[in-house]
Symmetry: C2
Subunit: 689 residues, 2 copies
């Protein structure tokens, strides 16, 4: 580590430089300092992860309330693999400069890093058994450099258990190095032992499927040019912000349109949003202590061995942060962009950086509100703006684009776009997919799958003591003609309080447009006399399709229900457990453990809401060879939180009142002057004759 | 009618000018020609509507296939109210210059026009019984100019039946003419007789609620200025298209990114999209013959009389076209805008115009697709573009912003934003809303309501003979450990063919992520061997909450189920009937009539799919005094329609291949050059130290 870096850490520690915000991810310098300290004590190790151990909430709330008290100590949370494969979790107190925890774990495997992934392909290409299988598939030994693999953690395979660190290699072939391999899946699956760095087994199907003979199906420039070239009829849309952005950046705290949010990042969840507050006419009101995508699972629906192992926990097994793209100006987002980098550790213990890991920018959001009085056409029309905090990660074949969107009306939106490439498997000509997949291209079987995300919501609705209610749109009592419902039109929002963990274990109900309110029952809205709240509005909420007792069901306990609510616990961050690879699901880790005491009270206390949402994907040829982005979204909406529309003071584009109309006096016209008619008025009139 | 206009109609008719496209709405000249012809025969009448009688589909398909044959004749479809209140439906053949149908209707009321609406308030203000009720509410007679009403059709009230043309006046007060009246609802409801132009009855509640004493709650400029003024921290986002738009306009046919669509408009549905095709590598493939919002109903959930009458059919009772806003450049949409006007008839028989009724423009659509190879970071990232055809209509208090969005990947999206103002009713201090509404402001009760839209989809998936399938994500057979599902992970898309009208009468199922495929079973995708299809993906699909047998249930038969499928019939356009005001629902008009023969075959024939979707709105103070736009959306997605992603030839922003990376050769970099970093690189580096 360079001397100046060490010095800078020391300065942070001694307070001679502005110290990091307690929520800030560890800097490169802090990561290197942690490694230095560990190395002095334990020598050479393989680093799996070094990340911020987030401050205890109790301490943190105290400091947020009064930042003049000493700030919580910076602690590095470390996972290493010691020689021989022993997994160790440790803490390094960066202020004290010492290791405060050093714990050996048995039978767990920490996540697979990018370095872990990169190794497998090279081993496969040289392995005689793999070469033999490739020959059977129709690939000669001299073409082994054309053989590729997407290495996945093995997930769980009872034949191998959890003690040996394994990956399964999903095999592909590329006729030319620029060809998309996903048109040439191979039918066998080598198992890679990370400790031995060798292939210890190959799963070979009963029915063999030689490598695809179809011609390549590519999306790169040369391929498109050869097929007739790019369309030339798209005229530019320029998005410019000549006066800069409307947000302020202080360290990692973004201040925008009454919102304040600390933007964190870690190797597992990617973006973490902390201490989200809204300045309501001078009062900074807390809304969420922490928001993140905490886990996900992608179960595939083909029942044949070994496809049951395809159910990637992309966050817990690989890390949404580790797999994050370095973003490019003018490609991933347009306009005035503020980027943040991400710092990690590599296997050797050096700090690494993903440049431009997080993108922060604004977009026009269309009409925020509008009303015209039909009597005189007096009108107000106000345009909205949104702030988008995003990152994109690549999980082997797939890409997930994650957009945390803040709106001026107090809504927080999570939008995810799914793009990238389908995971594919080989099929013979005329073979029946049996409904478990779709032939998206000759010889290419794309299996049915689900993308189930787990959103961790730590609400802080005017304080940490919150209560969750289930809300169902419900018909009123009484049949048509009854006294209480004479015309049969009565309906209401049926609110069911979740008093216990067990009551809160709930599914989605499309028929009642079910939503969930996170309330502070200690504070009522002065107008509606209802508790201040934020409502979770989520409509893409499929159930987990793998059956009760199945491997996925056991391992992805969080996905069994749309909502779980737990009492806050500093240790409960990972809904499928902290170390997910090769968990058997016996017992199920994470949420199933935390909800074991179903009677635990979650009424008017510090709670966390875990929401599983996503979609079920039955592939079609349109999704191939690269999938147009499929969007999905959910909203966290203020309900009874504000006393009125909090965006009334957003300047209108146009506003006229009845008295202005009547007296023909000046109205407010701030319409965007850059907008133009496509056809000049003269021409337009001419066309209408 | 001016002589030149008559001449221009004649020219259309004689063919010396390019004649209108058969789908084109009637021009002002055509409307005036129709009136002229009717007037000569029948004298002075009150015109309710003159609109295009759309060509018979059989004829039209013939002409679309071969535009050199004579085009379908232009026919004006006319609704008039004759002296004495008799309602007449007529057709005028504009070529022959004669009336070809003239039919008196009994016991029906055509929709309420804007002119009908405007009349009521003036009558109310002068009516002694209304003045008396205002006095009871606390408004002195000299303040009657401060009394306003939103006139609604009466809906249906058994006391008055269908023969007398009635409106109910929802009463409000404005302390000052610029005050929002919705903070001052009055508790009584006058009934207006359109023929007599007088108030024939007043519904007076048992519990009286004097006019609200709260101070006004306004959103206009003066009010916001007084409360501290507008926020000043929003920097401009400029959206410019220096080279113009990417679409071509020929008459009303828009040609954009392989899409072609004819943009029609009528007084009832507003935008009608016809003959939607996609140019698939040179072949113009039909997808939809016609798309429109055909009806909607907004039932309110308060069971007390007379609130059961509040269930507006905003399209069928008032007309989404008639209520359409004249749009303003730089307010409603930004960028390069193409507007289309709308022509109507007024009561007297003059043609009228809403300028800029339809907005057509493009927007950047973010990432269209992206994939990075984790091995070498070779990447493609391509930005999408969308075409938006929109209109906004004001239904008294509410606004509906309707966006028909075309995507490059073959998706058609319908987005609706709900904004405007809540319908409100008076409440006394401390009064219990009983759960039927929310006190959004002191003394203001906003009742629960639903917005249920009926989307009419006339599919033409590679031809008119189509079949609808229900698709449910379903677990595979066999328990965990069984031979067919050993690991319990099997799942598939269960497809249920709708062979008959009865089978097709179906509800939404959130648990199975239910979708509906419109297929051409005569044509299989060459790769997947599945029928070419478009899938309806809609997630906001609440059931109709008013009970079976209730007034709303009877009148809004279309809303009883999420999907109905009928065999195509030229006469079946209006799912709640053509003349909706004052229908009793006995019998139910529209869809319930058309599905009476449940056994009628809809297998591989020309079908129409009717989809009811929407949302249930439980108001909150955030929605007041003007509601931030609440968006909802649905998708029509190509599935097995194309052989691959149809947008591969959209030029990428950035593209590199493994061989380019390996050889360090030039890559394709077309990143948007207008995008900028918020903080200059030098500063950014400095901040990171």
């Amino acid at each position: 580590m360079a001397l100046d870096r060490l010095k800078s850490v020391a300065q942070h520690v001694t307070g001679t430089l502005p110290p990091p915000h307690p929520f800030d991810p560890l800097s490169n310098a802090e990561i290197e300092a942690a490694v230095q300290i560990i190395r002095q004590q334990y020598g050479q190790l393989h680093y799996n992860a070094i990340t911020l151990k987030e401050p205890l909430k109790k301490e943190m709330l105290r400091w947020l309330e009064n930042p003049s008290i000493p700030r919580p100590v910076r602690i590095a949370d470390v996972v290493v693999v010691a020689p021989g494969g022993k997994v160790i979790e440790g803490w390094v107190d960066l202020k004290a400069g010492k290791v405060t925890k050093w714990l050996s774990l048995e039978g767990v495997q920490p996540l697979i890093t990018m370095e872990d992934l990169q190794a497998v392909e090279h081993v496969c290409r040289k392995d005689p058994k793999v070469i033999e299988q490739c020959a059977i598939s129709g690939i000669p030994a001299e073409d082994m450099h054309k053989v590729y693999c997407d290495p996945w953690t093995i997930g769980y395979d009872h034949r191998f258990g959890s003690n040996v660190r394994l990956q399964q290699a999903l095999m592909y072939y590329r006729p030319h190095m620029d060809d998309s391999q996903y048109s040439f899946p191979l039918d066998f699956c080598p198992i890679f032992d990370a400790a031995k760095q060798e292939i210890i087994h190959i799963d070979i199907p009963e029915i063999r499927r030689p490598v695809n003979k179809a011609k390549p199906n590519n999306y790169h420039v040369d391929a498109i040019e050869k097929e007739g070239g790019y369309r030339t009829d798209i005229k530019p849309i320029n998005i410019t912000q000549p006066e800069g952005v409307s947000f302020k950046v202080e360290g990692r705290v973004i201040d925008w349109q009454n919102w304040k949010v600390h933007v964190g990042f870690n190797y597992k969840e990617g973006i973490v949003l902390n201490n989200i507050t809204y300045n309501d006419k001078g009062t900074e009101r807390p809304i969420f202590y922490r928001l993140s995508l905490a886990e996900m699972v992608v179960p595939y629906g083909n029942p044949e061995h070994p496809h049951q192992r395809k159910h990637a926990f992309d966050l817990g097994e690989y890390g949404g942060g580790y797999m994050t793209n370095s973003l490019s100006l003018g490609c991933d987002c347009k306009g005035a962009i503020h980027y943040m980098d991400a710092a990690f550790v590599n296997k050797a213990g050096d700090s690494t950086t993903i440049k431009n890991a997080i993108c922060i920018h604004e977009e026009d959001a269309g009409i925020l509100f509008k009303h015209t009085d039909f009597r005189d056409d007096s009108v107000v029309v106000t345009r909205g703006r949104k702030l988008i905090i995003s990152h994109i990660f690549t999980a082997a074949n797939y890409e997930y684009c994650v957009y945390w969107i803040f709106h001026q009306d107090g809504t927080v939106q999570l939008e995810i776009k799914l793009t990238g490439i389908l995971n594919t498997y080989a099929m013979n000509p005329g073979e029946d997919t049996k409904g478990w997949g779709t032939e998206v291209y000759p010889g290419v079987n794309a299996h049915n799958h689900q993308h189930l995300f787990c959103l961790r919501i730590d609400p802080n609705i005017d304080g940490p003591n919150n209560t969750v209610f289930q809300v169902d749109a419900t018909q009123g009592a009484g049949e048509v003609g009854s006294k209480e419902n004479p015309f049969g039109n009565a309906f209401y929002a049926k609110r069911t309080k979740y008093s216990t963990v067990k009551e809160a274990t709930s599914d989605y109900n499309g028929a009642t447009s079910r939503t969930w309110d996170m309330c502070n029952t200690n504070k009522l809205n002065p107008h509606s006399h209802k508790p201040v709240s934020y409502k979770l509005v989520s409509r893409e909420v499929p159930g987990l399709l793998p059956k009760e007792g199945s491997l996925v069901w056991k391992r992805a306990g969080f996905a069994r229900h749309a909502v779980h609510v737990t009492k806050y616990d500093d240790e409960q961050l990972y809904p499928a457990g902290r170390h997910v690879p090769q968990t058997s699901g016996e017992p199920s880790r994470g949420i199933p453990e935390w909800i074991a005491d179903g009677e635990a009270s979650i009424d008017n206390t510090d709670v966390v809401l875990w929401h599983t949402f996503g979609l079920t994907h039955f592939p079609a040829p349109e999704d191939f060879p690269i999938m147009p982005a499929e969007p999905m979204t959910l909203l966290l909406r203020p309900r009874n939180f504000f006393v009125r529309n909090p965006a009334l003071d957003v300047p209108p584009s146009y506003c006229s009142t009845p008295s202005q109309i009547a007296s023909k006096s000046m109205v407010t016209n701030a319409a965007d002057k850059m907008s133009k008619l496509v056809i000049a008025p003269g021409e337009a009139d001419c066309c209408k004759k």
